[in-house]
C-alpha cells in the first residue's frame, strides 16, 4: 500500500507544480536548468526534494538503501547513460513517465515504452543470460 501512497504523493506534487506554478515536474529539466536563467524555483524545488527525502529516510530507514551493490564501473557507465540519454530524449521517469503519460502525449508514451523496454532487456541480459 505504501507504493500506491507514494505514487499518489508523486502525482499530487506534479499536479501542484502544474496548477500553481505552471511548470512540468521533470527532474532532468529541473536539474539541468539549475545553471540556466530560471534557476531560482528549480533550486528551491531540489532543496525541498532533499528535505522531503531526508524526512522519509528518518522515518523509514530502508527507503534509500541499495541491495544490488554493483561494481563501480557499472554504476559510472549507467550514470553516464542516464545523464546523456535523459538530456537527448528530453525527459526521464518523472517528465515523460508521469507528466507526459498523464497528458497522453504521444512523445512521452513512446519514450516511456522505449526506456522500460531497453531497461527490461538490460535486466534480462544481466540476470538471466550472464
Amino acid at each position: 500500500m505504501l507504493h500506491l501512497l507514494g505514487g499518489v504523493l508523486i502525482g499530487l506534487a506534479a499536479s501542484a507544480l502544474l496548477l500553481l506554478n505552471g511548470r512540468v515536474l521533470g527532474i532532468t529539466g529541473i536539474v539541468s536548468g539549475l545553471l540556466g536563467p530560471d534557476a531560482r524555483w528549480r533550486a528551491l524545488f531540489v532543496a525541498g526534494m532533499l528535505l522531503g527525502g531526508a524526512a522519509v529516510a528518518l522515518a523509514l530507514p530502508g527507503a534509500f538503501a541499495s541491495a544490488l551493490h554493483q561494481r563501480t564501473p557499472v554504476l559510472i557507465a549507467g550514470g553516464l547513460l542516464v545523464g546523456f540519454g535523459t538530456r537527448l530524449g528530453n525527459g526521464c521517469t518523472s517528465g515523460h513517465g508521469v507528466c507526459g503519460m498523464a497528458r497522453l502525449s504521444p512523445r512521452s508514451l513512446a519514450a516511456t515504452a522505449v526506456f522500460i523496454g531497453t531497461g527490461a532487456l538490460t535486466v534480462f541480459a544481466l540476470r538471466h543470460l550472464s
Binding site: L2, H3, L5, G7, V8, L9, I10, L12, A13, A14, L17, L18, L20, N21, G22, L25, I27, V31, S32, F45, G48, M49, L50, L51, G52, G53, A54, A55, A63, F64, S66, L68, V74, I76, G79, V82, G83, F84, G85, T86, L88, G89, N90, C92, S94, A102, P106, R107, A110, A111, T112, I116, G117, T118, L121, T122, V123, F124, R127, H128
Partner: protein
C-alpha cells in the same frame, strides 16, 4: 515569492513520495524491470537461472505509476478548464511535438542505464544525499553525462553556424 515557496513545498512532497513509494530502492526497480523472464522461460538455457537465482517479477512499481499518473491525469483535466495557473500567468509550452530519432535514442540509452543501475535521476540524487555508496558513484557520472550532452550540443551548434557562414561566403 509565492511561486518560490510553493516550489520548495512541492519539492518536499515529491521527495517524500519517492521515498515512500520504494523508488529509492534500486533492487525494486530492477525487480520491476525483470518481467521478460516470463517470456523466456521456455528457452532451456534461461529457464533454470530465471527460476532459481533472482525470484519473481516485482509489480510494486506498477502501483506507483498508477497512483502518480492517475492523480496527475485528473490535474491535467482541471488545467485544461482554467485560464492560467494560480501563481504565474501562463501554462507550460511544449517545444517538441514529433516522435523523432533523438527522443527514441535518448530514451533507449536512458533505459539501458536505468536497467544497469536501478536509478533514474531523482532517486539517484536522493540516494547520494542519503550517503548510499551506489548513489554517490552514480550521480557524478549522471551529471557528467548531462554535461557531455551540453558540450556536444555546443559543438554541433558551432558546426551549423560555420556551415551557414561558409555557404554565405561561397
Amino acid at each position: 515569492m509565492k511561486a518560490g515557496l510553493s516550489a520548495l513545498c512541492i519539492g518536499g512532497l515529491f521527495g517524500a513520495g519517492l521515498g515512500i513509494s520504494g523508488m529509492g530502492q534500486p533492487q525494486r526497480i530492477v525487480g520491476f524491470l525483470d518481467f521478460l523472464q516470463y517470456f523466456a522461460l521456455r528457452a532451456p538455457s534461461v529457464a533454470g537461472k530465471a527460476g532459481s537465482s533472482d525470484g519473481a517479477w516485482d509489480p510494486a512499481l506498477l502501483l506507483v505509476m498508477a497512483g502518480a499518473v492517475g492523480v496527475h491525469f485528473v490535474a491535467q483535466r482541471i488545467a485544461r478548464k482554467r485560464a492560467a495557473p494560480l501563481f504565474v500567468p501562463d501554462w507550460p509550452t511544449y517545444a517538441f511535438t514529433r516522435i523523432d530519432a533523438r527522443l527514441l535514442a535518448g530514451a533507449a540509452l536512458f533505459g539501458l542505464g536505468w536497467g544497469l543501475t536501478g536509478f533514474c535521476p531523482a532517486p539517484g540524487i536522493l540516494s547520494a544525499a542519503a550517503g548510499v555508496r551506489e548513489g554517490l558513484v552514480f550521480v557524478p557520472a549522471m551529471l557528467a553525462g548531462m554535461a557531455l550532452f551540453h558540450g556536444l550540443e555546443r559543438i554541433r551548434a558551432r558546426a551549423v553556424t560555420d556551415e551557414t557562414g561558409a555557404a554565405r561566403r561561397a
